[in-house]
């Protein structure tokens, strides 16, 4: 994998101003309050690879995903996709061309398709928007091809979304994502709202499409088993920061960060192997009121005074990158 990565994320961050209105602040003498949804996020995605971003609520993974496709503007840092920056000034024309090559699949199959549009119009929208087909007939042909590609019947293209099941709607969303022949697709919890058997169909489909078209995926998920099945590299996020990045085999073989270990412990043991599991402690903290120092220290069995004072930086070790004092000090 020596070729240049397709996506480079550099020190990406986003804060939201959640202060009370100006008048309230003046009267009650309150300071401005900042919600740091993501900070210092740095990683790369190689071509035709799947990078998974894992975390629970408040981890910032959805915010990062939205910044990468240009839905939210970052407050710090930058996203560079195939040499084009998503934030730099003066690159508007390149960014417009870039939009054809990126797309997003959302979690909720009931909200990601316009309920008043027919399936064929939903899939055709990118084709029409980017002028990729000539006549009406060409568009229809392309739409039929795409529907067949995702395992749907082109004869159903005149139906409305509510006439399809959840799994089928997600397939329509995938067909729409493929319509502009993208290189990079961000998948935000694509199967979390689907039944298990449908999830299997969808994940298999996504893998097949990736192999066939050489797609690059950013997969957002809270489900480690799904990540293991789909990704080649994994980044674990906690309260807006990356705490561990490694190849997928490494992360599951030897997780370093205590939070990664905790997530692995929480995965249910379907094989009833009876493997020993440590009990989990605490809950994800509120991003508006984060703990001092390392955000994980209230729940960490290895926390020291240094952890309470100082937030650990993301350090590069031989096969992983970890943000943990305990690991860098060799304690864990």
């Amino acid at each position: 994998m020596s070729a240049a990565p397709l996506v480079t994320v550099e020190n990406l961050g986003r804060s939201f101003d959640v202060s009370r209105p100006w008048l309230n602040r003046v009267i009650e003498r309150e300071k401005r309050r900042l919600l740091v949804a993501a900070a210092g996020v740095t990683f790369t995605i190689g071509r035709k690879q799947t990078f998974a971003l894992v975390g629970e609520s408040g981890s910032g993974k959805t915010t990062v995903a939205r910044m990468m496709v240009g839905l939210i503007a970052p407050t710090t840092g930058d996203v560079v996709i195939d040499g084009v920056s998503m934030t730099a000034r003066g690159q508007d024309a390149e960014r417009r061309r870039l939009r054809r090559r990126i797309h997003m699949i959302f979690q909720n199959p009931y909200a990601s398709l316009n309920p008043r549009w027919r399936a064929r119009d939903i899939v055709a929208e990118p084709i029409r928007a980017f002028g990729l087909a000539g006549s009406r007939g060409d568009v229809d042909t392309e739409v039929s091809k795409l529907l067949r590609l995702v395992g749907l019947d082109p004869g159903d293209s005149g139906k409305y979304p509510h006439e399809f099941s959840g799994g089928q709607r997600q397939r329509i969303a995938i067909a729409r994502a493929l319509a502009s022949r993208p290189d990079f697709i961000v998948c935000d919890e694509p199967t979390s709202a689907l039944d298990v058997s449908v999830q299997a169909q969808t994940l298999n489909l996504m893998r097949d499409l990736q192999d066939r078209f050489g797609l690059t995926y950013l997969l957002i998920s809270h489900n480690l088993a799904v990540v293991r099945h789909m990704a080649s590299r994994v980044g674990v996020m906690y309260l807006g920061r990356l705490v561990e990045i490694a190849d997928v085999r490494e992360i599951f073989r030897a997780p370093r960060h205590p939070y990664t270990r905790m997530l692995l412990e929480a995965v249910p043991d379907l094989a009833l192997s009876g493997r020993p599991r440590k009990p989990i402690a605490g809950e994800p903290p509120n991003p508006i009121d984060p703990p001092t120092g390392c955000a994980f220290h209230p729940r960490c069995p290895h926390a020291t005074d240094r952890c309470r004072r100082e937030a650990p930086p993301l350090t590069t070790l031989p096969s992983v990158m970890v943000a943990c004092h305990g690991v860098t000090e060799g304690r864990i």
Binding site: H103, A111, E125, G151, P154, Q168
Partner: protein, 315 residues
């Protein structure tokens, strides 16, 4: 290779689907809805086809015979022997025909002003909800102003301003248009508010985000994606407002600032007729008033049914 049915199915046509829909089923089971829509349909049809359906032409001075004036309903006139179903007024105009032509004007002004309000209100509501920020605040404050002033007052203000701006020679020609704009401007805010609320919800939905990821321009997103999903409640409000618009027009005409005397509406007829109420020729006031009530009531009931029928589905 389909995962479900192997045969492609032909979609049933729009009419078939409308007939089969739950809405049609609920309609057929509501006697109020059926009754109200029959009455409304008959009246609207009769009014639209007035030139062909009316037995006489009440506003063509040549056909009037002063001696036929004050003819009671159903009785032959002592002079000419003609029977007027609902009687005649002081000038010999047939009340029935006057009602038909009058309803025509009332309906024209009613529909047109509602259309004006809807277009204005929905557009402003969409922009307000989608763009947000100061634009939203500005539009909503103007809407607040509209809502806090009585509709008649706003209409009178618009009328007065128009009268000042337009040369007296064109007053009569422009009167209907000004009236439509006046009533329209007095009623748009509720559409704007409703649409703005729905837009705020739809704006954050994933399908809008998907369109934004594609880089579609804001106007296209508002028009193609958001608009179809927010117009539902508008239909209900518009139907109920139609009745109100007709009454508002009648009120303005009654006060003398509505339609010009050459194109009387039901309101004008009521104004003309009220002086005769206690002098014995009651039919000149009663029948136009009844017609107005019937028209407004049937449209109102239809709107009420529509709102209730659509409600559970708006969950």
């Amino acid at each position: 290779m389909s995962m479900d049915s192997p045969l492609p199915q032909r979609q049933p046509g729009v009419l078939r689907r409308a007939w089969d829909s739950d809405l049609a089923w609920s309609f057929c089971r509501s006697p109020v809805a059926v009754g109200a829509s029959i009455v409304a349909a008959v009246m609207i049809l009769a009014a639209v086809l007035a030139p062909w359906v009316a037995p006489h032409t009440p506003f063509d001075a040549a056909t009037l015979n002063l001696m036929e004036g004050f003819s009671p309903p159903g009785e032959p006139s002592p002079v000419s022997g003609r029977v007027f179903l609902l009687g005649t007024d002081g000038q010999g105009r047939d009340v029935l025909s006057a009602i038909l032509y009058g309803a025509r004007v009332s309906l024209l002004v009613g529909f047109a002003s509602v259309l004006f309000s809807v277009v204005l209100g929905v557009s402003l509501g969409l922009v307000s909800g989608y763009v947000g920020g100061r634009t939203d605040a500005l539009i909503m404050r103007i809407a607040d102003i509209q809502l806090s002033l009585p509709a008649i007052l706003i209409a009178l203000l618009v009328f007065g301003v128009a009268r000042g701006l337009i040369q007296p020679a064109y007053h009569e020609e422009a009167a209907i248009a000004v009236l439509i704009v006046a009533i329209g401007l007095s009623n748009w805010a509720q559409y704007a508010r409703t649409v703005r609320g729905s837009t705020l919800v739809e704006r954050n939905k994933d399908y809008v985000l998907a369109a934004r990821v594609m880089g579609r321009p804001v106007t296209a997103i508002m028009r193609e994606h958001v608009l179809p999903n927010v117009v539902g409640p508008v239909l209900v409000i518009a139907t109920i407002n139609l009745a109100l618009a007709i009454i508002e027009e009648a009120t303005l005409s009654f006060l003398g600032v509505g339609v010009p005397p050459t194109q009387p509406s039901l309101g004008t007829l009521i104004r003309l007729g009220q002086q005769f109420l206690f002098s014995g020729e009651w039919w000149i006031l009663l029948f136009p008033a009844l017609a107005l009530v019937l028209l407004a009531l049937s449209i109102n009931l239809l709107g009420d049914w529509l709102r209730d029928a659509l409600n559970p589905r708006l969950r």
